[in-house]
C-alpha cells in the first residue's frame, strides 16, 4: 500500500541526485604502518639472519644429523601418544564430571583439581621416583590379599613415567575442554536422540560429541602444540627427546645457541604442520554449522 502525497517538486530530491558517485575513504596515512613494518623486517634481517654470531651455517649442518632426527622422532611420537591418551582420558573424565551421581562427578572433580593444580614438572619427577613410595606395585583387594605384584622399577621406566605424567596431566585439561564443548551443544539434541530410542551413551557418541567437536578442536589444537613443547620437560628424566638430543650435542661442542636454534626450527616446522591439520579437522566438524542458503530467522 502506498500513500500518495502531493508535494511540490521543490521539496523533493531532484532525480539527478541518484547518479551521485560514491567515493571510498582514501587512507591518506596508510603508508605509515607499512613503512614501520618494512623497517622492522629489515632490522630483523640485518640483526638475526645476517648476524654471524647466530652461526646459521652450524645450524644448517646439525639440522639433519641422526641424533637430532632421533630426538625429533621421540618428540613426535611421545606427543602423539600422550595427546591421544590425554584426549581419551579427558572424554571419560568429562562424562564422569557430568554424571548425575555425586560420587562419580566428585571423583572427576578431584582428579581435575589435583592434576591441574600441581606443576607438571613435579608430577613427572614424582612418577619417575614412584619406586621410592611404592617399592612394589600389585593388584589386590584393599587391606586384603595381593593377587599379582611387580617391582615398581621394572614397570616405571623413564619412558613409562613420561607417558604417565604427560597423559594424566593432559587428561585433566582435556576434561575441562571436552566438558565445555559438550555443554555448548543444545540440550534438545540429546533429548531428540533419546526420544528416538538411543541410550544416553549412544546419544553422546553419535549426536552430542560430534557437534561438541566444533568447540573442542581449537583449544585441543592449542593443547597439542603445548604438549609438543611440554615433552621437552622429559629431558629432566633422561629421555632423549629433541631438546635432550640438542643438549647432548652442545654439552660436547659448546655450540649452545646454534643447537637451540636447530630445536626451534624443528618445533616451528611441527607446529606449522599441526596448524594445517587442525584447520582440516575444523573444516570437517564444521559441516552443517554455517548457514549457506536462506534462513528464516528462526535460528537462535
Amino acid at each position: 500500500m502506498t500513500i500518495e502525497r502531493e508535494l511540490p517538486d521543490t521539496e523533493r530530491a531532484p532525480p539527478e541526485l541518484a547518479n551521485l558517485r560514491i567515493v571510498p575513504r582514501n587512507g591518506r596515512y596508510r603508508w605509515i604502518p607499512i613503512a614501520i613494518v618494512i623497517v622492522l623486517a629489515l632490522m630483523l634481517l640485518d640483526g638475526v639472519v645476517f648476524n654471524p654470531r647466530f652461526e646459521w651455517g652450524v645450524v644448517g649442518s646439525y639440522l639433519f644429523t641422526p641424533t637430532i632426527l632421533q630426538g625429533l622422532a621421540t618428540t613426535v611420537w611421545l606427543t602423539a601418544l600422550c595427546m591421544s591418551l590425554g584426549v581419551l582420558l579427558g572424554i571419560v573424565i568429562a562424562v564422569m564430571r557430568m554424571s548425575p551421581s555425586r560420587i562419580v562427578s566428585g571423583f572427576a572433580r578431584l582428579y581435575i583439581w589435583f592434576f591441574r593444580g600441581t606443576p607438571i614438572l613435579v608430577q613427572l619427577i614424582f612418577w619417575y621416583n614412584l619406586a621410592a613410595l611404592f617399592p612394589n606395585l600389585g593388584l589386590g583387594i584393599p587391606f586384603g590379599p595381593t593377587l599379582i605384584e611387580f617391582r615398581t622399577n621394572d614397570i616405571i621406566t623413564p619412558l613409562a613415567a613420561a607417558i604417565l605424567g604427560l597423559a594424566l596431566n593432559e587428561g585433566a585439561y582435556m576434561a575441562e575442554i571436552v566438558r565445555a564443548g559438550i555443554s555448548s551443544v543444545d540440550e534438545g539434541q540429546d533429548e531428540a536422540a533419546r526420544a528416538l530410542g538411543m541410550p544416553r551413551l549412544k546419544s553422546m557418541r553419535r549426536i552430542v560429541l560430534p557437534q561438541a567437536m566444533r568447540f573442542i578442536i581449537p583449544p585441543t589444537g592449542n593443547e597439542t602444540i603445548g604438549m609438543l613443547k611440554m615433552t621437552s620437560l622429559v629431558s629432566v628424566i633422561a629421555l632423549s627427546d629433541l631438546l635432550y638430543s640438542a643438549q647432548a650435542i652442545y654439552s660436547r661442542t659448546f655450540e649452545t645457541i646454534p643447537l637451540l636454534l636447530v630445536c626451534c626450527c624443528w618445533y616451528l616446522v611441527l607446529t606449522s604442520l599441526l596448524s594445517v591439520v587442525q584447520a582440516r579437522i575444523e573444516a570437517y566438524y564444521g559441516r552443517g554449522a554455517t548457514p549457506v542458503g536462506t534462513n528464516q530467522g528462526d535460528r537462535t
Binding site: 526420544a195 530410542g197 528464516q296
Partner: protein, 254 residues
C-alpha cells in the same frame, strides 16, 4: 492388544516443592487424535514428556499400548527400567519438538536414517530408501542433502516429522510443533500433520493452533494447574465449555 494407546491415572510430577502435575487422568484410544490445550505453565508439555519418559513421573500410573514406559511392575511397586529397556520403548513412540532439534551435523537424509540404523539396526540401503520416501511425503525430497541450517523452520519441522516416522512409531507426540515458526510457515507443517491423521496415526498434540484442534482432533483436553479440567470433542469444548476456567481461557484466545 489394548484398545487404549495411552492410559494415565493420577499422574503426578513434583520438582522440589513445585507440583507441576497434580493427578492427571487421561486416555487416548488407538487411532485417536487428541490435542492438549491450556495456559502456559499448566503442565501440557511436561505431561507429554512423561508419556515417553523423557520426564520421570513422581507417582501415578502411565502406560502406552498397555505397557508401562519407564517402569516394570513387581508386586505393588513400580521399578525403574534400565536405560536400554526404556530406550527400546521410546523407540516406538515418535516425538516432534517445538524447536525441531534436528541433528545439526547431519543432512536431512542423515537425520532421518540415523535412528533406524543405530537403534533398529536396519540396513543402510533399506533405511535410505524409506527415508527418501518419507522426505518425499513431507514434500522435501529435493532437500535430502541440505543441512538443517540451510532449511527454513517449516522445512526443518517437516524433516523432524519424517525422522520420527522413520521409526514406524505406534504413537506420535507433538510438543507445540508450530509455536517456533513464522506465521506463513505454520500451514505447511499442519498439512503434513493432517496427512498423518488421515492415515490413522494415533497422536497427542500440545498446541496453540485452535483451528487445527477444532478441525482434525477427535477430542480436545483442556489443562490447567497440573490437571486435565475438561476433555471432550472439539465442538463441545470450544462451543459449550462446561467449566469456568475453560470458558475464560477460550475467551482470551479465540
Amino acid at each position: 492388544m489394548s484398545h487404549l494407546m495411552v492410559e494415565a491415572r493420577g499422574v503426578e510430577k513434583k520438582i522440589g516443592h513445585l507440583e507441576i502435575l497434580r493427578g492427571v487422568d487421561f486416555d487416548v484410544a488407538r487411532g485417536e487424535v487428541v490435542s492438549l490445550i491450556g495456559p502456559s505453565g499448566s503442565g501440557k508439555s511436561t505431561f507429554l514428556r512423561c508419556i515417553n519418559h523423557l520426564t520421570k513421573i513422581t507417582s501415578g500410573y502411565l502406560s502406552v499400548d498397555g505397557e508401562l514406559v519407564g517402569y516394570q511392575r513387581r508386586g505393588n511397586a513400580l521399578h525403574e527400567l534400565s536405560e536400554n529397556e526404556t530406550a527400546a520403548k521410546r523407540a516406538e513412540i515418535g516425538m516432534v519438538f517445538q524447536r525441531f532439534n534436528l541433528f545439526g551435523h547431519k543432512t536431512a537424509l542423515e537425520n532421518v536414517i540415523e535412528a533406524p540404523i543405530q537403534v533398529k539396526r536396519e540396513r543402510r540401503s533399506e533405511a535410505t530408501e524409506r527415508a527418501r520416501a518419507l522426505l518425499e511425503r513431507v514434500g522435501l525430497g529435493h532437500k535430502a542433502d541440505s543441512y538443517p541450517s540451510q532449511l527454513s523452520g517449516g522445512q526443518q519441522q517437516r524433516v523432524a516429522i519424517a525422522r520420527a516416522l522413520a521409526m514406524q512409531p505406534k504413537l506420535m507426540l507433538f510438543d507445540e510443533p508450530t509455536s517456533a515458526l513464522d506465521p506463513e510457515l505454520v500451514g505447511e507443517v499442519l498439512e503434513v500433520m493432517k496427512g498423518l491423521v488421515a492415515d490413522g496415526m494415533t497422536m497427542v498434540v500440545v498446541t496453540h493452533e485452535m483451528g487445527f484442534a477444532r478441525e482434525v482432533c477427535d477430542r480436545v483436553a483442556f489443562m490447567d494447574e497440573g490437571r486435565i479440567v475438561e476433555c471432550s470433542p472439539p465442538s463441545e469444548l470450544f462451543d459449550r465449555p462446561r467449566t469456568e476456567r475453560a470458558r475464560s481461557f477460550l475467551a482470551h484466545i479465540l
